[in-house]
Amino acid sequence: MVEDTQSSHAALVTAGTSGSWDWDIATDELRIDEAFAQLYALDPGQVGVALPTDTFFSRIHRDDRARMRIAVAGMVGGAELFSKEFRVHAADGSFRWMHGRGQTHLGANDDPVRFTGLLVDVTERKRAEERLRIAQSAGGIGTFEYVDGFATASVSEEFCRLLGLHPASVLPIRTINGLVCPGSAHIIPDAIDPTATQLLGEFEVTRNNDGERRWVARRGEVVRNDGPGYRFIGVIYDVTASKEAEARLRDLNDSLELRVKEEIAVRLRAEEALLQSQKMEAIGQLASGIAHDFNNLLTIITGNVETIGRRLDENVDPRIRRSLDNAMKGAERAAALTHRLLAFSRRQPLVARPTDMAALLVDMSDLITRSISETIAVHVHTQPDLWWCEIDQHQLENAVVNLAVNARDAMPDGGNLSIGARNVCLDARGGNGRSGEFVVITVADTGTGMSPETLSKVFDPFFTTKEVGKGTGLGLSMVYGFVTQSGGHVDIQSTLGEGTRIALHFPRMRSDQPHSSATHAAGGELGHGAETILVVEDDDDVRAHTVDLLRELGYRVLEAHDGDTALRLLGRPDQDVQLLLTDVVMPAMSGWELAEAARSELPQLKVLFTSGYPRDAILKNGQLEPGIDLLQKPFSFAALSERIRIQLDT
């Protein structure tokens, strides 16, 4: 029996109906059908008989009961339609969600006399609704349903939330579409293509509550199979994040292209600068090669002119002496030219000399003023009693001119260029860890200045802000190299739009350092001697000339045309050679290698190099090693005799 009851109830549930009632308002009686009785676990005998109306509420869930009493009171009081959902404690012990639908029947006086209705089991639907609600809030998806012909649409709470609207179940179409930004289509379209079934779209909206601009996507379907017109049912969800990500990605892509372009441009500039410097290097090598050979030739010419001059009678025709002097002047000019070639190719070794910095700057001011355009005011000022420094004067001049030219280029519209020199004592704190006494030469301009980024790179080789072909990008790096090579350091300050100030710090010359220039014979007496000198020179004419000069000075002279021969001669016990006079650049074995080998056998051996071009082979960090001296070709008879004497006497 119980089984039967349950199975028939199940059948009714499947059919969608779980009972009906008939409530007589006038007599206050309730009549129920079989299904109702089964649902309420009432005896079948109760079906169709008058029951107390309170029976209606007997199995309703306690939490829903008050609500239902109110609703029924509304019906009894004259409301037209009853449509409520509530839980019923079913016969099988479970709670079922029921949807009660009912209506009142009016009597002759338009008074409600009966209230009839049906119960439908909607448990499954309620659960589905619950799942849908959770899906909506968890997924941030709002639903809508628009029925063709109405000016409103049914929406979910999440739908309202997405648009920043007050939660409601119905919204005017106008309200929904009014939030769409101008230019965007409508979320609920005014007209739908009669063949359309799916409607997708993305809309930019201005959220109502906070005015924020968001993107929502809409996916909807047009349903036409139930009656006239159509229903447009769909969802919206926020796609702002993915839109933004998309935009960011696009930006990144766009800027990537730009960044790559910039990077390529930088590389192209670097490549061009490298090419330029390689070109300069090649020209430098060519120039220095020429200078080397040229100096050999000049040595022969000037040497022989000198020799002739020395041997001329005092009462010789003065025209002959004048011709010789002219020849000598020409040769000296040629020597100056090769010197400039070498300077251009930056192959000069550093020849540090005690230098009166003030005097040097004053001497230079004329040159600087001339090389700077008239729109720029040049001030050169030096502190009185400026210390001396031991530096390569030529390189210092180059450095200062270099900086002055940079300053000029930074002031295309004119400005002030000031070059100054002063004594500075740095302690370890103030001088970036560099302490000591320095002469500081500053070159300051009021030009365009440099950004911190540029500033960080100015000493990099090949870095240039000038157009290709106008600078090698080696200027400041050479200055930097020269100053540090001289034991000093460089400070640079620059502000965009205000100017640049570069300070070169050179260490003060120690007072106990001999003014070595003073020890150089200041002309006059020629050094003579009887020592044995080995002359090594691959150029036969130069060697012959040199040997002649030395013999003339009274020395015993051996000669060799290359390093191997020289070493053999030095190795002979009967030859007591005191000084090795050797060319630097020779095939097979360089002068340096020869000197090394010779001094390892004969540590007391003095060495004097001669060279038209002392390449890197003779240089360690651009400075000459102690115990080694270099005589620049072309050398004069006087210079040769003096330097030979100095080497032998020290």
Binding site: F57, G74, A79, T152, H166, S169, P172, R174
Partner: protein, 212 residues
């Protein structure tokens, strides 16, 4: 009197909603008879809000100017009932209730009268039902047609000059195949709200009794 004093409990809200529903149901069936078409009604939303908020709730939905039929009611509790349309819809309502038998000129001519009469039928049936359910009687003023925006329609109502808070009750309705939609709104001052709350409590007591 503060907002807390008149905050409605869940059951009170249900009961009030039900009472309003009954009234609106009557109103809708009258409207249905008048326009001869299907009328869609939302579940009434009941909130106790400030008047500016009430104005915002309407203007959130309506940018255009509004037309309202306004009736003040007094009795055990007093307040103002409004039947609100976007201005552009009011003519459509007039056409609907006159079954499209009038020319445009005639519609324009009798717009005011037709609106006032329609509003009277709808608001009256609604309020009378509510009064009946609460076992009180209300008297109503002659309907007035007013135009304005949300803010001006919800201006301070008589008898509640300083209160600030109102019961805002609104129902969307729209009519199929007529571009008609609107709201029914009721505004009550705080003292009236307190009375209403009491009456709703009595109603619940009556209906639920000891069962609740």
């Amino acid at each position: 009197m503060t907002a807390d004093d008149i905050m409605l409990g869940e059951l009170e809200r249900d009961a009030l909603t039900e009472i309003v529903n009954i009234g609106v149901g009557r109103a809708a069936s009258n409207l249905r008879k008048m326009v001869g078409g299907q009328v869609l009604l939302s579940v009434p939303a009941i909130e106790i809000v400030s008047q500016p908020r009430a104005a915002r709730l309407i203007s959130e939905r309506e940018e255009a100017d509004l037309v309202a039929v306004r009736q003040d009611f007094s009795g055990a509790f007093s307040g103002r009932a409004l039947l609100i349309f976007p201005e552009t819809k009011s003519l459509e309502l007039v056409r609907a209730v006159t079954h499209d038998e009038l020319t445009v000129e005639e519609v324009l001519e009798m717009e005011h009268e037709a609106l006032a009469e329609t509003g009277n039928v709808i608001l009256n049936s609604c309020l009378a039902t509510m009064a009946n359910m609460l076992k009180r009687s209300l008297s109503m003023t002659i309907p007035e047609v007013v135009r304005g925006n949300g803010a001006s329609l919800f201006e301070v109502i008589d008898g509640a000059p300083e209160a600030g808070l109102v019961l805002f009750l609104y129902i969307d309705f729209s009519v199929r195949h007529r571009d008609i939609r609107g709201y029914i709104a009721m505004l009550m001052s705080l003292p009236s709200l307190a009375v209403l709350k009491e009456l709703v409590g009595e109603f619940i007591e009556r209906v639920v009794g000891e069962d609740g």
